[in-house]
Symmetry: C2
Subunit: 448 residues, 2 copies
Amino acid sequence: MGKSIAIVGSGLVGTVLAIALKQEGHQVFVYEKGDDIRTIDFSGRSINLALSERGWKMLKRVGLEEKVRQFGIPMHQRAIHHVNREEHQPYGIHGEAIWAVSRGGLNKKLVEWAEEVGVQFVFNTPIWSVDTKRGVLYTSESEYQEWKEIQHDVVFGADGAYSKVRSCLQRRSRFEYQQSYLPIGYKELVIPAKAAGVFAMDEYSFHIWPRKDFMLIALPNMDGSFTCTLFMPYQGEVSFEAIKTQEQVIAFFQTYFPDALQLMPDLVELYTANPVNSLVTTTCFPWVYKDKVALIGDAAHAVVPFYGQGLNAGLEDVDVLLDCLQQNPENWMEALDQYQYSRKVNADAIAELSYRNFREMSELTANPLFLLRKKIESKFAKKYPDLWLPLYDRVTFSKGSYQEALAIGDEQAAIMDVIMETEQIEIIWDSPEIEEKLKQLINENRGF
Amino acid sequence: MGKSIAIVGSGLVGTVLAIALKQEGHQVFVYEKGDDIRTIDFSGRSINLALSERGWKMLKRVGLEEKVRQFGIPMHQRAIHHVNREEHQPYGIHGEAIWAVSRGGLNKKLVEWAEEVGVQFVFNTPIWSVDTKRGVLYTSESEYQEWKEIQHDVVFGADGAYSKVRSCLQRRSRFEYQQSYLPIGYKELVIPAKAAGVFAMDEYSFHIWPRKDFMLIALPNMDGSFTCTLFMPYQGEVSFEAIKTQEQVIAFFQTYFPDALQLMPDLVELYTANPVNSLVTTTCFPWVYKDKVALIGDAAHAVVPFYGQGLNAGLEDVDVLLDCLQQNPENWMEALDQYQYSRKVNADAIAELSYRNFREMSELTANPLFLLRKKIESKFAKKYPDLWLPLYDRVTFSKGSYQEALAIGDEQAAIMDVIMETEQIEIIWDSPEIEEKLKQLINENRGF
C-alpha cells in the first residue's frame, strides 16, 4: 500500500519527515553520508537553534512536542548588552518565548524516535547523484569509486544547503538557481557554566551584543553553558581578517564586549581553534520532479540565521507537504506540485526577512529611536491585538504565512515611519494623540 | 619551461585558447566528452554565430583571421521583414559588417589548426569532477564507473553554460552563482538554397521578423541556405505550447511570417522534428582558484544570444587572459586574478546588454519611433563621430569595454529620450535645431 521512500540526509528536517511519512504508512529509508549522529560526542555544546511556533506545530503533529520541550530552554526576552549597560526587550507581546534547543541533542533524539517507529537509517552512505527520471540514487564509499544503484518510489532531498539532490535537479533545463554569500562570517565561542548547571547569565534570555557592523549572541545550553556566535565582516577595519594575534582577540573583546570577556576563560583558545564559517542564501525552482523527487528544508531554501527561522521553515515544509499528500493520497505528482507552489513564495519571503534581520539585530537594537519604535508598537499591539501584530510576532509566534508577514510588515513599517516623524515623539510617544494617529493610519491602510 | 595545461571542452573558445597557449610555449591537452567534431556531419547547416570586432581581434592574435574570413559571410544590414513590407537598417555607421559563420564548420577547422600547432586532443573523455586544490581531473566512460585521475599544472574550464568545472568551484565556500532562464525558448528551422549556392533572400543581411513578443531571424550559410531561429514564449496566447498541430504551424506562419513561409518547403517536418531549446544566463564569481583552475567563455558567463556577443565575449576573455599572462609570466596566481577582475565586470555588462536586446530586436525594430530614433542617432554619429558612437557600434565594432558601452549607452538613451520628446520630432528630426539640441545635451553630460 505505502510507497517506498528514500530521504537523503538525517538532519532535523529529514528525520521529522521520516517519522511523519512512516506514520502515514510508508516504508521509509534515510540515507546519511556520515556516521550515526548518536555516536558523535558534542560534550553538551553545539550550534543552538531557536524553536518557535511553526516548529512546535509540526513536532506536535508527529506527537513529539512535549518530549522535545523537556530539553529546551524558553527565552522570553532579548537581553541587550550595550557596552556599559544591559537592557531587556520581551519577545512576544503576550509573553511568548522562543526555545533554545541543542541541535545535536535534538537530532540524536529524533533518530532514536524515528527508529522506534520503524524508520530505517542507512549511515555512512553518501549519495553522489540521483537519476531524477527514475528516482534512482547512486552511492559508493568515495565519489570516484564505482557507484551502486538504490531504487525507491520517491526521493526526498533533505540534505541541506549544499544538497546533492538539488545539484542533480540543477542540471535539468529551466531550473532556476541562486547561491549568494553574505560578506559576514561567524565563529562559535562558549561561555562555560559557573558550576555544573549554573548559568553565568540569565538563562531565560537570548543575549545579544549589537555593535552595528558586527554582533555577538549567546543562547543557553542545558548544562549551564552558553553557545556564543560572533558575526563579523571577513574584511575591513573591524573584521576577522584584522584580528591576527591573541593580543588582538583580547583587545577586541575588551573594547566591544567587556562583560562577555569576563565570562570567557577559554576565549583565546576557542577563537584560535574554531573556524570562520560562511552564511549562504540559496533559492531555486522547481523543488520537485513529477512524483519522483522533492527538495525540503535547507536543500530547497537555505536562509541566513538572523530570524531564527531556518529549522522552523523546514518543519513547516513538512507540515504543508503532509497536508498536500493527505489531500491527494492517490496522486503524488499533484501533491508535490501543490507543495512546491504553496511553499516557494513563503520560502522567498523568509529568506528576505532573514536577510533584513541582520541589520535589525546588529544595528538597530542599539539605536534608541528603534527601541522607542518597538515600544510604541508593542504597547499599541497589547491594547489593540486585533489591529496590530508586530512583524516579529507574526513570523515567530503566529501560524500566518511568511509571505503575508512580509507584506503586512512592510505596510506597518511605512505607518511607523510616519509615526516616528511626529515632532517630539520621544516625549509624546505614550499619548492618546499617537494612539489616535496610529488608528487613523491603520484605517487608511484598511487595517490588519 | 612551459606548463602542462588541461582545457576541458573542445568548443570554439577552448580550441582558440589551446592554440594561443601552445603558441606561448606550453603543453596543451584538450579534453572533450564527445566525439571529434570533425567526424560529425552537419550537412552544411548548424547554429549560426555572428563574429564581430572582439572575435576577429583574438583570431588575428593567433594568426587565423584571414583563414576564418574565407568561410564567413559579411552581413552589413538588418533586413527587417514587417508583415507587409521589408526595410533595411545598416549595422555600423561606417558600413561595418558582422560575419555569419557556421559554428560547426569553424569548430572543425579550429581543431584541425590546433592539432597542426601541436595541441593534443583527448576525445570521448568526459570530466566528471575536478579536485580544485590539486588541479586533478577525474574521468571515466560513465559517471558511475570508477574514476581515473589526470594531473596537469593548470585546468581551464571551457566547457560551456553547463560547465562541470564550474560545478566543482560551486561547491567551494563563498562561490556566488546564479542561473536563470528566459520564459522564451527557441526552435531552429531552415530556408533551403534555391539551387546549390543560390540564396532565396539577400545573403549579406541579417534577416529579422520582429513581432513584439516573438520573432524569427535568419542567417546565411555558405551553401546558399539560411538557418532560421524562431524565438517565442513557452506558454501563452502565441507560444510553443499553443501550436499543437501541423495545421496550426502553417496558420501561425501564414499569419505572422507569410514571406518566410513561401521559402520553407520543409517547415512542418522541421518544426515537428526540432526541439524547443532554452535560453540561460549564468553569472558566477570567483572564476579562478589560485594558479590551478580558471573558467573561460560560457563556463564563466553564459549570456542569451540577442546581442550576438556570446562567442565574441569568450574570445575577448582569451585575449585578456593572454595579456595578463604575458604581464606576469612567472606568477600565474596573479595573472589569473587580474584576468578574473578585468573580465567579470564586462561579463556582467554584456549579460545585461544581451538580456535587454531581446526587447529591442523583437519589439522595437517594429516600432516607427524606434526606427526614427536610430536614424537620428546614426545621422548625427556619421557627422560627428567624435561626439557619438551608437551603443550597437560600441558593443559590436569597437574595442572599448562592455562595461563602458553599457554605461555610455545608458547616458545616450537618456539624451535620446529627451530628443524624442521634442514636439513634431517626426517632422523636424533632420533639422539643425535637433542637431544643436543633441550637441547641447551631450555637452551637459560632458560629452562622449
